[in-house]
C-alpha cells in the first residue's frame, strides 16, 4: 500500500540520514523522497513509502515524530491533497518527427525546454501516474536521458 507522508524538519546536516535510517531499520521500502527548504531553517520532505498495513504506516509516522529534529509528520494519503512530480526527458527528435512530438505532448501540458540538433528536452509535471503515462508516450521516439524528482505533496485547503 502506497502512503504519502510529509515531514517538516529542521534544515540541518544529517537530518535526511536520520529519516532514512528510521525507515531502513523498519524494513520500509522508500519509493521516493523529495526535500526542499521552505522557510529559514525549515525544510519540508515528502516521503512515499510502500507498506503492507495501515498500522505499519502509523508506526512509521510515530517513529519519525520521535526524531528530535522532526517538527511534524503527517500521513496525507487519505486527506484531499495535491501531489506533483517533475520529469525532464531528453528524447530523440529529428526534424521529421518534431512536430508530431509537439502534438503528442500538448495534451500533457508539457513544455519543450531545450532544443538541440537531434534531441529535445521536455519538462512535465503531474502525478506519478501521469508522468508514467507520458513516458510511455515518448518511449517509441527513443528516450536518451530521464530525470524525475519524486513526489512532493501538500494537503488541500
Amino acid at each position: 500500500m502506497r502512503r504519502i507522508i510529509t515531514a517538516i524538519v529542521y534544515n540541518k546536516s544529517g537530518v535526511l540520514s536520520r529519516i532514512t535510517s528510521v525507515l531502513n531499520r523498519r524494513q520500509v521500502n522508500i519509493e521516493s523522497i523529495s526535500v526542499g527548504v521552505v522557510e529559514a531553517e525549515i525544510s519540508r520532505m515528502t516521503i512515499v513509502i510502500n507498506v503492507n498495513t495501515l498500522s505499519e504506516a502509523e508506526q512509521v509516522t510515530k517513529q519519525l515524530n520521535k526524531q528530535i529534529e522532526v517538527v511534524k509528520v503527517s500521513d496525507i494519503t487519505d486527506d484531499p491533497h495535491i501531489e506533483r512530480e517533475l520529469a525532464l526527458i531528453q528524447v530523440n527528435a529529428p526534424m521529421s518527427v518534431r512536430s508530431e512530438i509537439q502534438a503528442v505532448i500538448a495534451p500533457f501540458r508539457a513544455d519543450i525546454v531545450d532544443v538541440a540538433q537531434k534531441t529535445i528536452i521536455v519538462q512535465v509535471a503531474g502525478t506519478h501516474d501521469k508522468i508514467n503515462a507520458f513516458i510511455d508516450v515518448l518511449r517509441p521516439y527513443g528516450i536518451k536521458q530521464l530525470a524525475r524528482t519524486g513526489i512532493t505533496g501538500i494537503k488541500r485547503g
Binding site: R25, S55, K66, I68, V70
Partner: protein
Amino acid sequence: MKNQDQEIAQKMSGAQLLLKSLQKHDVELVFGYPGGAVLPLYDALYDAEIPNILTRHEQGAVHAAEGYAKATGKPGVVIVTSGPGATNVVTGIADAMGDSVPLIVITGQVATPGIGKDAFQEADILGITLPITKHNYQVRDVEELEKTIDEAFHIATTGRKGPVVIDLPKDISIIEGTYTQRTKPVNLISYQPTTNPSQLQITRLMEQLKKAKKPIVLAGAGITAANAAKELQEFVERYKLPTVTTLLGLGTLPADCPYFLGMGGMHGSYASNMALAECDLLINIGSRFDDRLATCPSQFATGAVIAHIDIDPAEIGKIIPTDIPIVGDAKNALEKLLAFEPFEVDSQAWQELCIERKQKYPFKYDRENKDEIKPQRVIEKIGEITKGQSFVSTDVGQHQMWVAQYYPFNFPNQLITSGGLGTMGFGIPAGIGAQFAYRDRPVIVFVGDGGFQMTNQEFAILNENGLNVKFVLINNGSLGMVRQWQERFHNERRSSSVFDGQPDFIKLAEAYGIDAVRIMNPATVDSELEAAFAKEGPMLIEVIVSNSEHVTPMVPAGVPNDQMIGVE
C-alpha cells in the same frame, strides 16, 4: 535575565566550558578513559571538582554509568576518546537505548579540519550511534557547546529517557568560548513529550475496570522511570488487582505484596503467565510488550481489553493492538486513576484463582538434591541474608533469570540488569556504578563465568576507590543459557557453550587485591555464604554449581504465554 547572564559570562576553553556545564547539571562524577582527542578535556578535569572514574575499558565506563543511572534515575556521564574509544562504548549506548536509561556520552573527535579525512583515530560516531541514541550532536562551534549540553541533558532525562551522544572535536575543546551559565529552560519546539494523559482515555479505562471480571496490571520499567511505585501500589491495593511485572518492573511492588504474581514472560511465573493469557482487562503501565514478555503477540491476552499507558506514543500499538491508548507519564496517569471515586471491582473469584496459582506453582528446584549446589538456593539464601534490601546487579544468562525468580525485590531501581539488549559483561561494571551512587548501601553483583570474563578488569577500580561490592560468581563452567537452548532446541549439540579450561577466578580476584572465596560444598553453602557476607569490603564469592541446570519454567520463543514447559 540577559544582563545577569552577561555579568556571569566568562571566557574559557571549550573543555572548561563543558565541565562547568556538567557541574551546572549537578554531575557528581564521570566515568571515562582518556585518549588523544580528549587530552584537553582530561587536562581540564585535572583541576575540576568532578572526579573521573578511570575504568580499565570504555565498555566498563559506559556500563558503570548505566549502573549509576539505573540506581539513581539521574543521568550517567561518560567521557571517552575518538575512534576506538568511542566505538568501545557502542554496546553500552545500545543497552541504554534498549532500557531507556538516561546517559550523556561525550566522545572526543579529531579536530574539525581532519573530520571526514580518515584521520588517525577517527570514526564517524554520529553515523555509528544514530540508530542507538535518542539524539546525538557534533559540536562545530564552541559557542554552541553550552546550549548543546543543556539540550542533551534535557533530552536524556525527559519523556522516554535515553542516551545522548555529544561528539566534541579536539579543537573545539581548546578554543575559547563564552560560558554564560544559561538558566533559560530548554525549549525545543520539535520535542514536547506528552506527560499528562488525556482525562477522556483515563475515564474510559476506569469504565472498563468497573465492568471487568478478570483485570490485571502489567507493570514495567516506566513505573520506575516515572518514580510511580507508591502510586502503583496504592492503585493495585485499592482495586485488588493481580499484578504481573516485567523483568525491569521487578521491585515496583514489594515482594510480599499479596497481589504481586511475579515476573511474566519467558521465564516468568506460571501464575503471571496464566493471568496474562486469561485476563479480560490488561492495564499495561510502562511496559513495551517486549518479545520476552509477549512471547506470541498474535495470541497474547486474546480475550482482554488492552489499555496501554506509555510516555512514548510509538510504543502504543507497536506490538499489541491497543483498545485504550494513554500517552503520558506513569505517575501522572496513576494519580489521575487514583483521583476517581473508589468503587468495588467484581473480581474476587479471579483474585483468588491468581493467588492460589501463585501459591500452588511457585518457582521450584530440586531442594532434596544434596550432591550439588543449586544456583537457585544460592540466590534465595543471599536474598535472606540481605533481607531483600540490597541493590542487585546481574549479568546476562541463567543466573539473571534465577535472580529475577528468587531474589525478593522490594524497591524500584533495586535490580540493575540489562533487559532489552541482554548485554553480557554488563553486571560487574554496572554494580560498581551503583556503588558509586550509594557508597553506604549494599550492592551485590551476580555474574556467570561467561560474562565475568568479559569485564572483570574493572575489579581494578574497587580498591582504588574503596568500594564495597560483593560479587557472586555462579560458575557452571559453561554459557548456561546458550547451553540450555542447545539442550532443549538443538538436540543437545553444545556448540561452543562449554568452557574447556577456566582461569582460577580466586587467584584472579587476588591479583586485584580482592578477597575471594570458593564455595563447593552443598552441605555448607548456607553458612559459607553467611560468613562471606559478614566480611567487610569487596569480595568475590565463587560458587561451583551443576553444569546441567536449566531455568524453568519456560515459555519457548514464539509460543503463547499459557503454554509453559517445566511446570509441575
